[in-house]
Symmetry: C2
Subunit: 192 residues, 2 copies
DNA sequence: CGAGCGCTTGATTGAGTTCAAAAATCGTGG
DNA sequence: CCACGATTTTTGAACTCAATCAAGCGCTCG
């Protein structure tokens, strides 16, 4: 049995047997570092489950600056839910930070597995609400916390990811310049 | 027929007749300015539909500062969805900015109206995804936009609300100090 | 009328940006 | 495997936006 079936089983909290029934509905896609799964203006048609590698989702503001909304390492999912559900052009890009392998989960896939295993539907709703929870926390953090606090929180939220992405991407996630992040880190070393 | 039934009918995009069937499941609550519908640490058990008045949802950071996540004027809904769905203690407060009248919509209410009118369920999902959309936009805005840009965007998002709330609350929504907002506004007057 | 609250204004401070350049690291082709 | 160019990170100096601290004004409500 392929490893990814176990991961999907964990994600959706359904028996592996149910996942196996839908195995042929999953497309596996390998993408190289820098390649895109979603471009601004496109409709996000699928949910991406990261089997190997690391993706990010970001947008570009009117000054041409990138702002990263999420990273997604192994076993995370990445999707612009509002574009997917509402069938609206997305404001975001999704690309690979490392050479990656993703499982492309279509809405039909979720329908199908929901039929086989109704609890999967509730689980999707839970994932949706966990997502809302993280978005809300991110907002209150951006409203109130300093660059240093946000950086420390990033390290907790994404353990072991700092080593895998260029530092300027972390800065872009935090909403500060790469120079500022470099200084924040220098200060933290001094403190210890 | 009461006005609020028409509003709920609009919100859920179902015939007024379906709303009427569930009318007795709705609790109407009047709350005075400053009174709370949700306290930090409590589980958010209901969705609040603002029939009259104006509410806000906010949290308090470790320095004791308030950060407003949402305002909700007439015909808007307000709820900590992650607390409601996941049954987790909320990080947020909900209170009345003006004397208000809210419809307390329990999960059972939504179940009930969903049975009478299945399209209401899909509509709830749409509302959920519109909510995600607005949270995502807020994050990218906080990551990239200046205080002035955020203020102008607030005026668009919440037309006619500026006049109804103290200016320091708007500042708290924008993530700046009241003094800064005062200066931002002064600059905007000069520009014209 | 006076106390309190909200808003403004001024002076100062400070966190983070910008611009510039050096240092370190990465990656790719020879 | 090394070398060279490109990218990333660090550091420095000047600057800017917004925060802080403080004072004063105006309004409201008891």
């Amino acid at each position: 049995m392929e490893n990814f079936q176990i991961q999907i089983s964990n994600l959706l909290e359904v028996p592996v047997s149910a996942v196996e029934l839908c195995a042929e509905k999953i497309k596996i896609k390998k993408i190289q570092k820098g390649q895109f799964l979603l471009n601004e203006g496109e409709i996000c048609n699928d949910t991406f489950f990261v089997n190997k590698g690391l993706l990010r989702m970001y947008n570009i503001d009117k000054n041409g600056k990138e702002h990263i909304l999420h990273f997604a390492p192994e076993n995370w999912i990445l999707v612009d839910r509002s574009s997917l559900y509402l069938n609206q052009p997305s404001d975001y890009y999704i690309d690979a930070v490392e050479d990656s392998e993703v499982l492309v989960l279509s809405p039909e896939y979720f329908d199908f597995i929901g039929e086989k295993q109704p609890s999967a539907i509730a689980r999707q709703n839970t994932l949706l609400h966990l997502h809302i929870n993280s978005l809300q926390k991110r907002i209150t953090q951006l409203l109130g916390a300093t660059a240093e606090e946000r950086y420390l929180d990033f390290l907790k939220t994404y353990p072991n990811i700092f080593e895998r992405v260029p530092q300027w991407m972390v800065a872009s996630y935090l909403g500060i310049t790469p120079e500022s992040l470099s200084r924040v880190r220098k200060e933290l070393v001094k403190k210890k």
